[in-house]
Symmetry: C2
Subunit: 201 residues, 2 copies
């Protein structure tokens, strides 16, 4: 029919990604047909197959779209003279992202509860590279905190990092699966504050 300009084509590509996120969230990745996504995006399967190789390709495109802004915002300042405060700040920032970035929150919910890690997906089942990066950054931050005498002794920075890493994993999972009035959401900030306070000298 009417051929679109490059800009319009890119717009429909984004429409498809957004529609996929909505439908994945509601129906699960496995039981979502490309027909449903196409309908939700106001196009036909032809458009979906034009922009994406198949459902898996579309899934990973949707994932990139939401994970990249996440990596930008969660950072540890290696120069600051309050490394422990930096850890707390980074964790609080994660919660803030979940609060105000709907696409990131929804994508995390899809990744955690609406997706089966099998076949092509099994590669990212456990720790992604990004997650291990986060663990490494936590370790570095605790090492700097230890060097500044901020940590309660005896303290092994690496072990503390694992403890925090596991805490954050659980927190994100339960935050996502909660309703806004449940304590995992209402008290998330306090949980973080207390978690870090347990380490303070």
């Amino acid at each position: 029919m009417v051929r679109k300009t490059k800009e319009e084509a890119e717009a429909t590509r984004l429409q498809i990604i957004e529609a996929a996120r909505r439908v994945f969230l509601e129906c699960g990745v496995g039981s979502t047909s490309l027909e449903k996504i196409a309908a939700a995006a106001g196009v036909t399967r032809g458009a979906v197959y034009w922009h994406f190789k198949n459902k898996t390709d579309l899934f990973f495109a949707m994932r990139e779209d939401a994970v990249l802004p996440f990596l930008d915002r969660v950072v540890f300042d290696a120069e600051a003279n309050d490394p422990l405060g930096g850890v707390e700040h980074a964790l609080q920032e994660i919660i803030r992202i979940l609060v105000d970035q709907a696409q990131t929150r929804e994508t995390f919910e899809i990744l955690a509860f609406k997706c089966e890690y099998v076949g092509e997906f099994s590669s990212m089942k456990g720790c992604t590279a990004g997650q291990m990066d986060f663990l490494g950054m936590l370790t570095d931050a605790y090492r700097r905190a230890a060097a500044k005498g901020q940590l309660r002794l005896p303290a092994d920075p690496e072990m503390l990092a694992y403890d925090t890493f596991l805490f954050v994993g659980g927190l994100i999972k339960h935050w996502i699966s909660s309703t806004p009035d449940e304590r995992f959401r209402t008290d998330a900030e306090r949980f973080i504050t207390q978690h870090v306070a347990l380490r303070r000298a």
Copy 2:
């Protein structure tokens, strides 16, 4: 064909459940057909539909089969005079169950990574009743520990319980998705010991 006795019928029922667990683990719940399960169990779909209403029914039967032994083993002794040690013991017991109860471990892996919580499954997406029980038992244990002066001050038992609850959630998830040589498995006991030590007065 040959009609089986009641005992034989119950045996094939268990065969089907075990086959379902294997196939769910390999293929994911959503993309597992009842034909695959039947073949893996050495029966036909007729047998599956005889014993279970449909795939969802079979899934929940498999879940019960593995979760019940779990609840029996993870307990907090309310009478002991070392509540904090009881917490550590209970957490270590969880890891021991994952190590030596293959069916429980595999079922947890299915629940965490091979299942989409949508439709009939969405009810158990977040915290099951059993999980909230566990949180309550943790809180009670920390309260008793506080009463005995075992906790480092200032300490809010309930907040400590949430911190531990989130830690355990992350630990189970990462333990399950790890290979036996990865640190989440090799060092799980140390993580627990250190986690509890952080609270000790």
